[in-house]
């Protein structure tokens, strides 16, 4: 199937080209192990949220936390099936330091047949002084049943809505 995601092999977990937004934000792979993942969002001027302070946008941290949580789920289920975020709760402890990139680590601490539960935190300098923490739930095998109709090789923008 051409539109299957070309997920990274174990030796190339630093690849993000399968997810255009992750690649566009410039995520960097830091480390991963079973059910765990750590990523970095390098600082960039166009990701700033408040030009007066020069601090990276809360929204960019949101995208990083969402992505690292998903990555941890993939590490827990061995990249075997598509997933989708069900809910994501983020607490912003403090503003990041201007000009610094953000690290985020996630742990997928429970997987059921349909749902994965994840905790994550993000920091700039010191892991023990987080800028934000997150709690998320993901649906596993999120596109089962939706793929049956239509040619698999041609992603169609007019495919029926799920839900």
């Amino acid at each position: 199937m051409n539109n299957r995601i070309d997920f990274p092999k174990p030796s190339e977990r630093g690849r993000f080209d399968w997810s255009p937004h992750a690649q566009a934000l410039g995520f960097e792979f830091v480390s991963s192990q079973k059910a765990w993942a750590t990523l970095k969002l390098p600082f960039r001027d166009d990701l700033v949220g408040d030009p007066e302070s020069g601090v990276i946008a809360g929204g960019a941290v949101t995208a990083l936390l969402d992505h690292v949580c998903g990555h941890a789920v993939m590490m827990a289920i061995d990249f075997s099936t598509p997933i989708a975020t069900l809910d994501l709760r983020i607490d912003y402890m403090r503003a990041a330091e201007p000009g610094l990139g953000i690290f985020a680590e996630a742990h997928c601490y429970k997987v059921t047949r349909s749902i994965a539960f994840v905790r994550a935190s993000a920091w700039d300098r010191d892991k023990d002084d987080p800028v934000a923490t997150a709690q998320a739930a993901f649906m596993i095998n999120s596109d089962s049943g939706r793929r049956a109709a239509g040619p698999p090789s041609e992603p169609s923008s007019s495919q029926e809505a799920a839900g």
Partner: protein, 139 residues
């Protein structure tokens, strides 16, 4: 209301990350609709394809910030304290819209709910609830 409209354009134009996503907003009286045109760099999962969940969280968060700012005429950006995002439907490669409703606003904290939809307003794709700090303390 053109003052408010200019203020809104200026607010979003000043936020590099809003420009990066391609977000804009329209005002009808005091009612703001935020608009996120589809762009390939917003895709998170190409197999569906679906817009990245983090993009939607960020888009709705900035919708809430903009709504607070135009309603309160704040000169400084409010800061998110916590947000909770619920994903109801996959976000397809289409234009996404959002509206924010300020449920409670006090001296320092606002509680805001945001709904985002694509083709049908009655079928929201994502919801956000959040608290925002109005007068950031130096810390």
């Amino acid at each position: 209301m053109s003052d408010t409209s200019d203020q809104l354009d200026a607010l979003l134009g000043r936020i590099p990350y809003a420009r990066y996503l391609g977000m804009r907003a329209e005002l009808a009286g005091d009612e703001m609709t935020a608009i996120l045109p589809f762009a390939p760099h917003l895709i998170g999962n190409p197999s569906l394809p679906a817009i990245h969940g983090g993009v939607l969280g960020a888009f709705m968060e900035m919708t809430a910030l903009a709504q607070i700012s135009i309603q309160q005429g704040l000169t400084r950006q409010p800061r998110p304290i916590d947000i909770s995002v619920e994903y109801l439907r996959p976000a397809r490669p289409l234009t996404t819209y959002a509206r924010a409703e300020i449920r409670k606003i006090g001296r320092r904290i606002a509680n805001v709910h945001v709904e985002a939809w694509q083709e049908t307003r009655a079928n929201p794709i994502t919801l956000l609830r959040g608290h925002f700090l109005l007068s950031p303390r130096e810390d």
